[in-house]
Homo-oligomer: 150 residues x 2
DNA sequence: TTTAGTGCAAAGGATTTGCAGCTAG
DNA sequence: CTAGCTGCAAATCCTTTGCACTAAA
């Protein structure tokens, strides 16, 4: 649950090697792409990387790399809606998501707001909430207003 | 967001007809299965129903029916993990989920615990949280303990 | 009778996997 | 050198769709 997210290739290389893994240009570019995009599905990462480099990483490499980087604690992901997951830098995972089930709009709010709730879960169940993965569904202001009229 | 969940075929039939839809044995059995199972993926519902009736509803019918019943407000679903969604009676959706990212265990807690947080989102963003869909990820007591040792 | 609902099979999208060749260390 | 990594294509898994047939109302 520690947040050690290197954006630079150097420290990524170090993290990988310390686990017997290898640094490759593909991994560097994929990390870069996620950092640039902020939030991105595997498909979006692939497209972004495809555009910027010649021997474009294959889609499977993107999937495998995202998984590896998540295990390293560099990346994190959320399920914003029914579709593919969204990846982001673990260091940038300082917020929660509010997803409108009506129009799909996504808002963010500070992670801190979950603290009281997380605290309570810890006390009652010993469950340690990872607020980086928290997504709340509901109606955004606009859709709630529309619904109220009908 | 209203919770009117008939477990009995009678009221289901009424709800369906009032919208120009039809009551069928398949729909009755699928609702029954979800009620019995508590939480169930489409696949699990299909299997359960398959066992208990002769002209077993096809998987596509299960999917279509779950969708229909959800539109009616009878059912509701959550994404507990990466896999298929989990359906349950809307009336039984009075709790939130705590999913362990390590071992996959699922615990429940009262929906009420989210109220303060929901209130805050409403004030700050006008966002109306639907606490029935809330799932928090993290480590269950056991896995948290194991992690602490390492 | 009318038309929603069903089964089946085929299509679709997202993700994983097997394997041979490539390359970081 | 010697594994770990990659690309490619095939395989899986989950879900949706098209269509002819069945059955509620």
């Amino acid at each position: 649950m520690q947040v050690t997210a290197p954006r630079d290739p150097e420290s990524l290389a170090r993290m990988l090697r310390s686990r017997g893994l290898r640094m490759t240009p593909q991994r560097g570019r994929i990390l870069e792409a996620v950092a640039d995009l902020g939030h991105a599905t595997p498909e979006a990462v692939a497209e972004s990387v495809r555009a910027s480099c010649d021997p474009a990483p294959s889609l499977s490499t993107v999937y495998r790399t995202l998984e590896t980087l998540e295990e390293l604690g560099v990346l994190s992901h959320t399920h914003l809606d029914h579709g593919p997951p969204s990846y982001h830098l673990a260091a940038h995972a300082d917020h929660i998501h509010l997803v409108c089930v009506e129009c799909g709009a996504v808002q963010e709010d500070s992670m801190d707001v979950v603290e009281p709730l997380a605290q309570r879960m810890r006390e009652r169940h010993g469950f340690v909430v990872d607020p980086r993965h928290l997504t709340m569904h509901g109606l955004c202001a606009r859709c709630a207003a529309e619904e109220a009229q009908a």
